[in-house]
Symmetry: C2
Subunit: 247 residues, 2 copies
């Protein structure tokens, strides 16, 4: 996947001098070291001007990402069932995805880690990389608002997921496999096309040679409609739980 | 808790004639009945003009509520640790809370249930009542945007939680209990007050008669600062996991 790194860097740069940005990359291990040093350096009350680590921004960022990702899925895949939406979202916001993106766009380089964590190569840890993706998004939200966050997610998570929907939800392949094992044959046929407002909708029907099933699916492309039809068959026949495949 | 029901009803009324509103209260059981009737009534393709049930709106509404609730907590309780924020959020968005609110503001009356579900008193089920709180919020978001959702949540969840923060996070009481059992005595004292920008901050110190602990906490009120100090002691002494209490 090729990301528009220049555009992404520009967004990162735009808030680089803010306090929220500083906090977004401040790991507890660094803060603890800082506290320790100050205690040694002077007797003054350290409660006063010590910064916070990134955890609370991470808390906020998590739900900011969840929200815009849900909104993206809801608008982009209006024909998905709730279960499909949930699983796709899970894939998009899971630790490995956010850590991958964090690495791609170089968020790790801003991390402030304590000595121990630095020695442990903390800046390469999946959990920490995913954390700062979230805390950075929160900082971006607080500094620039929702529109900018949407732009940033468009360039990262929503770019990452493009083309993966079908890999994740390949009901057609699942059904194919099931039928092949039973020497059964699958037939897809176009049942109807509908012009609804500005878009065209296809209704595809799937049935089999042995006459065990017949279902229809709706979609903005024939493939999408076929996937929906296949999904219905899989549900009716009760073929296994469909966990999203890592890709 | 007294809710401003008039204001809430006005918000509900404002989208009552929209398709999203219709969908937000359409339970699968009703939809299935509808499909069955149409199949009996006519041979026409039912894919075409059948509505969807509320599940996908519920999917969206869940993350809308999560987002605005996180934002509320982040701004309202800036001194909370991440763990406290998470637990408070969990309390605010959990099924029993949303179901309670749904009942209080009469969302159940709009539900469209199938005959079976109606006989089972589906409109009184916690799970269904919580579902439609979420799907309604999604409909409100899609029709009126985020500002209106915030207004609605202010009148419902954020009103509900007012005053409950301390009941949930009563570290002082926990510490009191712990010390009493050990014939130990707790001393709170004001250590410092700070003027930071527009607000005043208090730093309170907590220690004990036996000299086992001494911690400081910061807050916008003395009570908040004491709570934070007590929380630190509880963490250091490793006194149990602090699950939020139902209230």
């Amino acid at each position: 996947m090729v990301y528009q790194v220049k555009k992404i860097k520009k967004i990162i740069e735009s808030i680089k001098d803010t306090e929220y940005f500083q906090q977004a990359f401040l790991h507890t291990s660094y803060l603890n070291e800082l506290k320790l040093m100050r205690k040694v350096d002077s007797e003054q009350d350290s409660e006063n001007n010590l910064k916070s680590s990134y955890e609370t921004l991470e808390f906020l960022g998590d739900s900011v990402i969840n929200f815009y990702t849900s909104l993206f899925i809801y608008h982009r895949f209006p024909n998905y069932a709730e279960g499909q939406m949930s699983k796709l979202k899970q894939l998009m916001v899971q630790e490995s995805t956010l850590a991958h993106l964090s690495k791609e766009i170089g968020l790790g380089e801003f991390l402030q880690l304590g000595t121990g964590e630095r020695k442990n190569r903390g800046a390469e840890k999946e959990s920490i990389l995913a954390d700062v993706f979230e805390s950075f998004v929160a900082a971006l939200y607080l500094e620039k608002g929702g529109k900018m966050v949407q732009r940033f997610l468009n360039l990262t998570i929503f770019t990452w997921v493009a083309g993966k929907e079908n890999m994740v939800w390949d009901y057609k392949s699942q059904l194919q496999e099931y039928c092949q094992a039973r020497k059964n044959r699958i037939i897809y046929r176009l049942k109807k096309t509908i012009r609804a407002e500005k878009q065209q909708l296809f209704i595809m029907e799937v049935s089999d040679g042995l006459g065990t099933f017949r279902e229809s699916g709706k979609g903005r492309s024939k493939k999408e409609a076929e996937q929906q039809a296949a999904a219905k068959v899989i549900k009716k026949l009760g073929i296994g739980e469909n966990h999203p495949q890592e890709s």
